[in-house]
């Protein structure tokens, strides 16, 4: 584990070199540690697949060089103990995406085989990012890895289930996007209306560290 400055009062900690089970386990443990025992002066943290950003108060943490050795030690100890796995959340998918046939052709598969390969694994939510509540899901079957579109679409509707490179994910808001759309889900992954006064997090159906399985649904 090491760190690099990311502006005067922020550090980017690298806890893994590549994605995979180990990076996923470490990320979850580090996130839980930062939630439970935030270092003094920490304003915000943002975990990603192999890195975590720490932003500090300039007043409380005047020198990153002084503060970071202890924090790295704290995170290293936390990362050594994996959290128990989260229960698997099922997400219904209707495989009717506009790129489904092209993805199948690219890999010499039938569309039915694409659905089967996509519904088989238990995926991990490596991180939320890009858009509110958007889950970066791994590990996608290597036979489905598909490069992003050269030119992103101006609008991808919320609920679109898509493949981008080695990830699969679910668009949570209407947004421009370049992933290959293979289907859609009626599940609301991000819904501002779902919050309650004492639980803002209820807006987000999935969180970093969750496990997800897609279930084929032929419904409307």
């Amino acid at each position: 584990m090491d760190w690099t400055p990311y502006g005067p009062h922020a550090a980017l900690v690298r806890f893994a070199d590549e994605m995979g089970d180990e990076a996923f386990a470490r990320c979850g443990a580090i996130r839980a540690e930062l939630e439970r025992n935030p270092p003094e002066g920490l304003l915000e943290f943002v975990p990603a697949c192999t890195t975590v950003l720490l932003e500090f108060s300039a007043r409380e943490v005047p020198s990153l060089d002084d503060a970071m050795p202890d924090i790295l030690e704290q995170l290293q100890m936390a990362a050594a103990v994996a959290l128990p796995p989260e229960p698997v959340k099922e997400i219904p998918v209707i495989y009717d995406g506009q790129d489904l046939e092209r993805v199948a052709r690219t890999h010499n598969l039938t569309t039915a085989e694409v659905c089967r390969l996509h519904t088989e694994p238990v995926y991990k939510v490596y991180m939320l990012g890009f858009a509110p509540g958007f889950p970066y899901l791994g590990d996608l079957d290597a036979r489905l890895h598909t490069p992003r579109l050269a030119t992103p679409r101006a609008r991808v509707p919320a609920g679109s289930v898509a493949i981008g490179g080695q990830h699969t994910g679910i668009y949570t808001v209407d947004t421009p996007g370049g992933w290959n759309i293979i289907g859609h889900t009626p599940a609301k992954i991000f819904d501002p209306a779902r919050r309650s006064p004492d639980n803002d997090e209820a807006m987000f159906l999935l969180k970093q560290g969750d496990r997800v399985k897609f279930v084929r649904n032929n419904g409307p």
Binding site: V46, A48, T50, T51, L53
Partner: protein
């Protein structure tokens, strides 16, 4: 007591509530949002003795019109959008008076504050509108803006004479010199590219908005393009495959997969924000200036 203060006659090219932004939600993919120019918005609140967290209306360029429904004090700071009221000072509006922002002359974002602050709904701890994420909605014709209810509000007697000192009124037409800190992939760029970032002049392109400001100039070329997505900050300078830097702004994505050559100093993001398409900017390495 909440009062009906202003009616939106026309939102112009864009009008929405913003405040200091939402903290702590980037790990859920929610950008911080908040005012694009915290210097100008801050002065609008200071003029009226409002708390620094009070929501203001952020106007994009020109075209907005409001009708005063009630006598009230307001302050307008930021871009010169041809306001029909004096800027950078506390102004008394009378019921029935109209304020117009007819033609942009300098800058991009103008801020409208009212005494006591606007009553705007909070979502995830902030009134900042992030329309794409359905956190709040921009203002539309016919919206009625209220003052924050609650504490009785009394402006000090001296408010009528209050104005912002001349040296604090920024010239948005000048070429800003933006302090930039080395980013996580600083070493991925050649020495020549690192030097070029600060020596060259960059032009703000029309593809610039609350998400990011795209710059154009002689392209940069990092040693590697493909990366695992990493967190982005407000001010992060990403270099995508065309070599043209993008500075991430307040509604920007929370993670991205392009090399990050630097981060614009938090104090200078506001200066970039007020640059219009076609305007030039320059960078200066912050680490050298310190020490």
């Amino acid at each position: 007591m909440s009062a009906h203060l202003l009616e939106v006659l026309d939102p112009g090219l864009g009008a929405a509530f913003q405040d200091h932004g939402r903290a702590g939600w980037r790990r859920f993919g929610v950008p911080p949002s908040g005012v694009m120019d915290d210097h100008a918005a801050g002065w609008a609140n200071v003029l009226l003795d409002n708390p620094p967290t009070a929501p203001v209306v952020e106007l994009l360029l020109q075209g907005a019109r409001f009708l005063a429904l009630h006598d009230c004090w307001i302050a307008v700071c930021g871009a010169d959008a041809g306001a029909s009221v004096p800027m950078w000072r506390a102004v008394r509006l009378c019921a029935g008076e109209e304020i117009r922002f007819s033609r942009i002359r300098g800058g991009v974002w103008t801020y409208l504050a009212v005494e006591g602050g606007f009553d705007a709904p909070l979502l995830l701890g902030s009134a900042s509108v992030y329309a794409r994420g359905r956190l709040g909605t921009p203002l539309v014709r016919g919206d009625v803006l209220l003052r924050t209810p609650g504490a009785p509000f009394r402006l000090p007697a001296s408010v009528a004479g209050r104005s912002v000192a001349w040296e604090e009124r920024r010239n948005y037409d000048a070429t800003p010199l933006l302090r930039v800190w080395p980013g996580p992939q600083w070493d991925l760029f050649s020495e020549a590219d690192r030097a070029a970032l600060c020596e060259r002049t960059w032009t703000v392109t029309p593809q610039s908005d609350r998400v990011g400001y795209r710059l154009s100039g002689q392209p940069l070329a990092p040693g590697q393009w493909q990366m695992i997505s990493e967190p982005l900050r407000v001010g992060t300078v990403q270099v995508p495959e065309d070599g043209q830097p993008i500075v991430m702004m307040r509604d920007g994505p929370t993670a991205g997969g392009y090399p990050k050559i630097g981060v614009v100093d938090a104090h200078d993001v506001a200066r970039l924000a007020q640059c219009r398409a076609g305007q030039n900017v320059k960078f200066r390495l912050a680490a050298q200036a310190v020490g």
